[in-house]
Symmetry: C2
Subunit: 204 residues, 2 copies
DNA sequence: GCATTTTGCTTGACACTGTCTAGATACATC
DNA sequence: GATGTATCTAGACAGTGTCAAGCAAAATGC
């Protein structure tokens, strides 16, 4: 691999890293394509060649975020063991852990109209997150959400509480009310688990 | 009241209306202060005199949104009757109804770092929404969320599922999976109620 | 009733933004 | 070695939010 190939292959990745840094520092509403290029050490026109426009760059970054979210969930589930409910809770805790660790990236992925959802890579990896939830739901309640409306309601209730809790935490609306900021890591987990369990209890 | 007095008194309100129209059309990431001013029929520097800067204008708009949200919830609760659980569900349905009716405004209120939360008007009206939930929760489980941690968990679980469901619906992640787009209004309500009830069931 | 201050808004300037186009440089291919 | 292609630079353009200066009208002071 020559130097130029390295630079060629590397610039797209370098730009994505620079974009994530800029995103976490400036927020989704103030991120600047020129600042990203400057951070990556290239001219302001360089990103266009790899990502088309600013939207293309942020779509790629959001897709990268979904892959990381998936990894956070997988990691949690593996330590949770085989019990279906435990895996759903673990998956939810991973979802929240990711949102807290990368709040601006999370906002880009879920609260923004910027990423192009028809982008193949973005679509597929976002679908993977959903299908994991489908599998976990079916393992838990024994019914396929795609064919059983009640099972899909279980799924959406589970997703909603996880997603909503993540949003309320990263927007600062849950930290103080729940006293999360004064808790140990174990207490945090216990508190969040107790909340998630309120929607995943047994009984239709 | 002279013509100039009318314009004077009215411009702030006119700008807010223009801002909401622009927001709903352009979205939170593309709204332009100059376009708002143009729509209101004034120069691009006029808004600064009433709202300081763009953030001030959008903070005022978000506060107006909270008032409207409160109204949507009140309206629903009044028709729901006195039963606490019914009021919680009604309040949640009003929350979702508001989000679906004004998705960009909802995003401005909850998913944006733009509104200044230390703004007195914004803070107070946002607090009103929360305190309504506090009252409903206490009426439902009989314990004060401010002093009883478990009651606060009930509250946050209830808020999370409502907020999360609203987010997932307006971002297009729930409509098709739940088949909401092919339902009658009554069926929609029934489906959403069934989901909300999964977290507000008795027990614990 | 006149002078003065204050208010509400306009106008123009500034730095900054994303995108487009033309050009330069280095690589690959024949 | 010549041609073509990919990668990146550099400049221009319209549009953005904010700021300062100016202006007209209303409010205020005497």
């Amino acid at each position: 691999m020559t130097e130029s190939e390295f630079r060629h292959e590397g610039l797209a990745a370098t730009l994505l890293e620079a974009a994530e840094t800029e995103l976490s520092q400036s927020g989704i509403e103030r991120i600047s394509l020129r600042a990203v290029a400057k951070r990556a050490g290239v001219s302001h026109g360089a990103p266009a060649h790899h990502f088309g426009d600013a939207r293309g760059l942020l779509t790629a970054l959001a897709a990268k975020g979904y892959q990381r979210l998936l990894h956070y969930q997988t990691s949690r589930e593996e330590t949770a063991g085989p019990e279906p409910l435990a895996r759903i809770i673990a998956s939810g805790l991973g979802y929240i852990e990711f949102a807290v660790a990368f709040p601006e990236l999370f906002a880009l992925m879920f609260n923004s109209a910027v990423p192009d959802r028809s982008d193949t890579r973005f679509f597929n990896v976002a679908l993977s997150v959903f299908e994991r939830l489908v599998e976990n739901t079916q393992a838990h309640n024994g019914r396929n959400p795609y064919t059983d409306p009640d099972s899909m309601k279980d799924l959406m209730a589970s997703w909603s509480v996880v997603h909503g809790l993540a949003e309320l935490i990263i927007s600062g609306r849950a930290e103080r009310t729940l006293g999360l900021d004064q808790m140990t890591e174990a207490q945090r987990e216990e508190t969040l688990t107790a909340i998630l369990l309120r929607v995943n209890r047994t009984g239709s």
